[in-house]
């Protein structure tokens, strides 16, 4: 058995770890709540924009480039992860999902007789950058510091870059792997196609902003939008400068909103994953602390017993 002094030292350090992880848990919990609130605050806006698109897109006319489905030769993958670690399985689950998708995808492409596609990658977050670099993949661009809470200003460079590449035909399809925030305890990595723009995909993303359970879950029934615009009424609409221009701008805008929401969701997931990880860590630390404490007491007791027996043996010898 270790000496009591050594055990005491270990007890101390375990207790310190416990304090630190507990503090980090608290921080992550508040951050999670805040990032959820931010995501929710932008919902009325997103719904209005969607409704808007429903109105405009029902007009008979050519869809702008961002909606165009081309033959897929080049695919861009965007991996959304965190900048910092200590978030449990948050990042690795994204990477695992991505690997799984990679494995399954060639099979489905062969079925349609398509040639092998060229692949490009964008890393959002330090961790995904490290991961892609380690795999030796073709990173076109990396973006950092979208962690904690994103602002629209932080997301703009990313979306601008993706849209530009799409219009210049650097890629024909954009796929995002990011985490979907189902509830504070459950996050799932999802693979989503974000370009070319698809109405249903955007709607899905916007609807998923509300977690299934928890404080904000009851908001889910609040918004019901219909996507069946009244054609008769539409004819009366005056559109300035032209429906084509409006649709193009709106398309870009919706793409931005969708991406913004994806990142907000990833933020919320990151914080709640970190909270869970820290909670387990502090639980483990307090368990360990208890065990060490017991061990310390035992070793102290055995030392005292030895001392007493030594003393009494000495007293006996004197008699």
């Amino acid at each position: 058995m270790d000496s009591p002094q050594n055990i005491k030292k270990r007890v101390k350090s375990v207790n310190n770890i416990n304090k630190i992880t507990k503090a980090m848990e608290m921080v992550a919990a508040t951050k999670m709540r805040k990032s959820q609130e931010i995501a929710l605050a932008s919902r009325p806006y997103a719904f209005a924009a969607l409704d808007f698109l429903a109105t405009v897109s029902s007009l008979d006319q050519k869809l702008p480039e961002l909606f165009e489905v081309r033959e897929v030769k080049k695919v861009l993958f965007v991996l959304v992860s965190s900048d910092k670690g200590l978030a449990g399985a948050f990042n690795s689950s994204v990477f695992r999902k991505f690997e799984k998708h990679e494995k399954e995808y060639p099979a489905s492409a062969k079925g349609s007789g398509a040639a092998r596609e060229e692949k490009f990658y964008i890393a959002v977050g330090e961790k995904s950058c490290n991961y892609l670099e380690k795999k030796g993949l073709n990173i076109v661009q990396k973006f950092n510091a979208v962690g904690d809470y994103t602002t629209p200003e932080q997301v703009h460079p990313i979306t601008d870059f993706i849209v530009k590449g799409f219009i210049e035909k650097k890629w024909d399809r954009v796929i995002v792997v990011s985490t979907h925030f189902r509830s504070a305890l459950k996050q799932e990595p999802h693979v989503r196609r974000i370009l070319p723009i698809d109405f249903d995909h955007i709607k899905e993303t916007v609807q998923q902003i509300i977690p299934e359970r928890g404080k904000f879950a009851e908001l889910i029934k609040e918004h019901q939008i219909t996507f069946v615009p009244d054609r008769m009424r539409l004819k009366q609409f005056l559109i300035e400068p032209s429906s084509e221009k409006v649709l193009q701008q709106l398309g870009e805008h919706l793409f931005f909103i969708q991406f913004y929401h994806l990142i907000l969701e990833a933020n919320a997931s990151e914080h709640s994953a970190r909270r869970m990880a820290m909670k387990t860590a502090s639980d483990n630390a307090s368990d360990l602390g208890e065990k060490l404490n017991l061990q310390y007491n035992k070793s102290r007791q055995s030392k005292i017993t030895t001392e007493i027996s030594e003393i009494s043996a000495g007293a006996e010898a004197l008699n």
Partner: protein, 80 residues
Amino acid sequence: MEISVYSLKNVLFQGEASLLNCKTVTGEITILDNHDSLITVLSAGVIKIVDENKKDNYFPVKSGFLEVKPGNEVRCIVEQ
């Protein structure tokens, strides 16, 4: 008329109002009660809304969209 102005961060204005003035890509416009249905793109400028208490509200915007719906309903989505 019923006006709602949404931005990504919050709802800027919601409620009854008598006048809305803003800059669009084709020029400055003012919308009063019973305006014709309209969809347009906003350019950088200030949106001015006079609400039912005759109070002026100003919102600076970078870009956005404006929709006047039949039924005296106006909706803006803006970026600040």
